[in-house]
Amino acid sequence: MDYNEIGLKAGIEIHQQLDTKEKLFCHCPTKLRDVEKRNGEFKRYLRATESEMGGVDRAAEEEMKKQDRIYTYYEYDTTCLVENDEEPPAPMNREALGLTLTLAKMMNMTPVEQVHVMRKLVIDGSNTSGFQRTSLVALNGTIHCIPGGANIESICLEEEAAQRVKGDIFSLDRLGIPLAEITTAPDMKTPEQVKEVASYIGMILRSTGKVKRGLGTIRQDVNISIKGGARVEIKGVQDLNLIDEVVRREVLRQLNLISIRDELRERGASVSEEVFEVTELFRDTKSSILKKAKCILAVRLNGFAGLVGKEIQPGRRLGSEISDYAKKCGVGGLFHTDELPAYGVTAEEVKALKESAKAGDDDCVILVADTKKKAKCAIGQILKRSKLAFEGVPEETRKMLEEGSTAYMRPLPGADRMYPETDVFATDIDDEYWQSVQIPELLTEKEKRFTEEFGLDKALAKNIAFSVRCPLFEEAVAKGVRPNLAARTIYSTLREIRREGFDTKSVSDEDLLSVLTAVECGKAAKEAVPDILKAVINGKSVGDAVNEIAPAVSEEELTGVIKKVISERTEFIEEQGMRALGPLMGVVMKEMRGRADGKVISEILKKELLKML
């Protein structure tokens, strides 16, 4: 695909949870909890309200189509009345603001002189208040990771939304965790560039050492448009490895929608406003969905035959797009004649349906089954989306599905969804404050330094620089532990024993540091490290583990063992000469089980062998 030719323009928004002690607008910890640990729940309704400028946000308006907007929230001993929307917010967390400014400085941005907290209307249930608090902190920066560089439009500090447990149930533990939102200009021209920029920003974020790690703690939204298409925002790409695929698939979708539009125009297609009630037609149907429906309504799309069923993205058709709109009214989905007979609907029923809807061979009939109210609402949405097919690509917000295809979520929101958070004072960012913001070393610089300064090999340097335990590595080295030993233990050894099934997360940095120091001052051999760590994971203290697994061995004792090994293999040694050193090393090491350092063993062994030969 020649992305230049189709005029691909893409920008990204990266949402990263910050690893602060407290939440953004209350003093609760930023800890995720098991839903089983909840200690209460409550139910609330949400409804769209007017913005300060008098408008109602179109995304919120669409959300209002849902009949029952009652949401359930789980609360915990680590959440409070602020999350419950039962208490005004606390002043903005200064730690989170400081971190956001650090990020802004790292991306060469200009801070806003006075930061104002806004309420962004979101009534899908993910915020108990019906809005998300967000503030614009800095503007206009640049990063240099793609040819020509990428411009960073803004960085916002906002509160994380509540996590959906299932359906309309949300968990309040995540609500209020500080989130930095970095928005780039639409500077990326290929799917690969999108991935590159996202990964570079990810690196900048992690360089602070103060961001949350793990699945769901960073989410990317991608804005994509092509020539003749429209701006589409794809929300919540959690896996960086999929981001380029998402772009490719969206390009494909837009190209297909444009070609459907052209085909519709050529055919002289139209959307009939006439709605047909066809409930009776399916009284004795074998389709269980249609049979139990209280009301079945149908509409005719003139000249749409074959196009509704046309695939526009892997696993997605124009019919799926229309269905997404209908689902906003709470219906399960729709049937269309491009895919029927199927799902228990017979050819005769299709024929009768087409007759009832006065549909010809070139037309497509869409039907929807539910309560009368919901079905009517869904028909309105079906007509709305079908008409949009004549425009090609509608501007909208979409959500990512598995594998990288997407589904319609809601219209692109506008400025109408924002109004001031009056309960939080504005914060001035004066020059002195801005000057005091320190920039941390980038992980990529760190990686380079580890190779040059510590002589680590490139791969290990990178791995340790990007590892969560990098600060521990640096601390250990500063305390005199050999860099190689520290890096290998912290990165490779931990990884190896994790693969054996040990929960390495339970080993604290403190314990790791004690083990490393023990090795460094000769209390244990480095060969004993895996076993010591395993013992620590199983609940032993580092001291006990070292004493048990690698009790101190005197040189005398070690020499004794070596002598014994040699005396048992005189024939072999006589035969091999000094070549026996290697194999004997292995025997002694096994015998000592990590209680002595390899280097010391080697020295004594060599001495004893020379003596004998």
């Binding site: 309704y45 039962e86 208490e87 200009t110 108990t128 614009l136 206009n140 400025a415 969804r417 504005a426």
Partner: protein, 410 residues
Amino acid sequence: MTIEPGERVLCTYAGTQLKGVFITERNKKAVIKLDNGYNIGVDYETLKKTEKTATHAPSQKKIEQNTSLPKLSIISTGGTIASKIDYRTGAVTSQFEADDILRAIPGLKDIACFSAHVPATILSENMTPSIWKTLSKTIYDEIKAGTKGVIVTHGTDTMAYSAAAVSFMVKTPVPICFVGSQRSADRPSSDNVMNGMCSAKAALSDLGEVTVVMHATTNDDYCTIHRGTRVRKMHTSRRDAFRSMNEKPLGKVEYPSLDVTLEEHVVRRGHNSPKLFDRLEEKTGLLYFYPGMSPDIIRAFSGYKGLVLSGTGLGHTSSVCIDAVRELAETGTEVVMTSQCLNGRVCDRVYDTGRDLLDAGITEGEDMLPEVAFVKLMWVLGQERNPSRIKELIKTDLRGETGRCTPNGL
């Protein structure tokens, strides 16, 4: 260069030109709303006026009412249920009129046909006895004009005082339902819709007294109907802040079904005929006793016609305050003792201090809430001059504010 709120501006900042609308000034910075919806504060020098555009005001769509529905009166005094952001100060203020409440709670128009009155538009901390008089008169006029029920929208902070005041000032044959909201009307999660709808149904019910209708729990599931003289705000911010004290609530209204259930002990619709008693003695005080309080503070009420003391436990002040109480009582101030415990009944016959206080001339406020006793005393002193008659009225249950027996389980 002066820029008016609502004018469009170009802002040159961070090396780019940003478009937006000037909102207000904050800490010497110009607050502008950027076209992406965010507000930021910048130096005035960065701004340039462009075309003048007035901000569009919130829609003023006329509310079509169904005149075949029963008639209810909605009387607005302000408060969070009717609040909106003031872009001048950036704080939440009351500036809605009753019609706006119908707009904010569209479901109301399917329940009744409303006539709206705005005797005051204030935050509830600015309420005064004189506004209680205006409010009572407005309510009384509506009742005389044949309304089926009255809804009073009110700020929650002093709603219990106003409900108690209206309880004494208006004898009513129809329900008078005070309602408010704890979370502002401009937020999607506001409790104004549920409270408003439930209060409308309560105002159409078989009640015949002054009530407060508010969220019963933190859930949007039902509202409790509290008696106007037995209710108290017990939480600063939760939506279920209101509780009935020393008495079971009068009933509840389920949401969203809006089914009303009333208890046995309610005063029924039509039981009283309408009367207005709008005289209040404003030289009445309410004082919260605390350990170590100087008797001078009590003496500061010298010249007052009445003083309610919110005492400790069964109804005490420290011994050093007793002389000051005696001086007040002897110079004609009616001193009523209530308890900081809120739950339970005053009894000054158990401990010596209590007996001394009785001897000094206080009247026991029975199981009345301190603020209800305060409003009642103000009202009684407005109606009656005779000291022994005043004492008698204080101890007599007039509007369900006090009972002969303290009920079980409360």
